[in-house]
Amino acid sequence: MVQRILDTSGEAMQYYKKQLRVLVGAVLLLVVLLTALGIYNSIMHSGKIGVEIQAVPGDAQISLNGKQVSSGKIYLKAGTYTFTATKQGFDKSTADLDVSSSHHYVGLLLNPVSDEAKKWATDNQARYEKVGSQMADVRATVVEKENPLLAKLPYIDVMGPFSIDYTFSSEGSSTPYIIIKNSTSAGRVRALQWIRNQGVDLADLTIQFNDFDNPTNQGDY
């Protein structure tokens, strides 16, 4: 009887040991696979920048420099790329992107043309707004990162007097221009000095003086 119990417990021990070995083996295999995957990813993505692409409608065909790609995240080397989204019943949507370390999102909103597409767009207005809002957020983040001055605007100095703000030259543009307004001639000098004090080279900006009309009629701000 005792011998039988001992035999049984020995077999159980053997069984558990085997199970443990399998488990340890599986964990090691998983670790090796994950490491290999990590190495593969880092090699494949080395020197590349992740770019998230989203189109509305989501099933639009997306091409990158003429080659078809799927929406979601892709990895690209730094450079300029043209993204195009097409879908029957909608206008083609195109976006040029200068992929650098700070750009990482492309939103392609297709304007509906056919009645069916227009109905779809009306029913899915929230999708347009969501992607549009994300595009605006990304653009603001990128622009502020590239132009630290913008993060400090609007700036108002009632004693100047002047106020400084910025806007974009056109819809979708990432080139901001600075607007100096509510100013006197002395205020404009102070506004320029305030910008200089932020470590910004005025030569790099596009500036519009709302209250200044150049009497020599030569300026075209």
Binding site: S185, R188, R196, N197, T216, Q218
Partner: protein, 220 residues
């Protein structure tokens, strides 16, 4: 026995000295780097580490200097006759430096005296009502007498909406003065894409340094 000890001590001293000298030489070469210097129209220059008072005097014929890695140096040069003295910064990444002084203030002033009438005529023609609305100030020549910047002081009341002091930038090409930057408050590369960035920056620096008293900044 005693002789052996003395010999041993001598060997140790010589060994320590050799090791010290070799390590000093290695440390010197590892911790310093060479900056190539090209010099034109200067008689001598001196080099000093930033924020330190001691400086090394050198003849303008010297073509390279060895400086500490990772340190910023100020190179002060003495211009030859008719050329200005000046300073240049050697940053930790500077590999070559060219000393090429502009003309001296005295020489530039003489050149300006000769050209001021032609310059002011060009400025007057660079916009409308300049001769009636503004007083053209005597400005400054730079860049070997080929660049000229000045301010136009508004003649009317400081309360007028557009009574700003304007800056104008001229360039001499083929002996003729041309208004490259027509009168304005400030200049940017986006507004003047065909004008060199250096010229625009020089004009903006002039604006910054020549603010009229009524527009004196309270930030100073």
């Amino acid at each position: 026995m005693f002789q052996n000890h003395r010999k041993l001590i001598r060997y140790i001293i010589v060994g320590v000295l050799v090791v010290g000298i070799v390590s000093s030489v290695i440390t010197y070469f590892v911790s310093t780097r060479t900056v190539a210097i090209t010099s034109k129209n200067s008689t001598s220059f001196s080099l000093s580490e930033q924020d330190k008072k001691t400086s090394r005097q050198m003849a303008a014929t010297k073509t390279s200097v060895r400086i500490k890695k990772g340190k910023t140096y100020i190179l002060s040069y003495v211009g030859a006759s008719g050329y200005a003295n000046g300073e240049m910064t050697i940053t930790p990444t500077t590999e070559t430096i060219t000393i090429n002084p502009d003309y001296s203030t005295e020489k530039l002033n003489k050149m300006l005296d000769a050209d001021i009438t032609a310059i002011n005529t060009t400025i007057t023609a660079s916009g409308t009502s300049i001769d009636t609305l503004y007083t053209i100030q005597r400005g400054e020549l730079s860049h070997y007498g080929e660049w000229y910047f000045t301010t136009l002081m508004y003649n009317g009341s400081a309360e007028d909406a557009s009574s700003d002091t304007l800056v104008v930038g001229l360039q001499k090409k083929g002996g003729v003065w041309t208004a490259i930057l027509t009168p304005n408050i400030i200049f940017t590369t986006s507004t003047y894409p065909t004008v060199s960035r250096d010229f625009i920056e020089a004009a903006n620096e002039y604006q910054s340094n020549h603010v009229s008293p009524r527009e004196e900044s309270y930030y100073q």
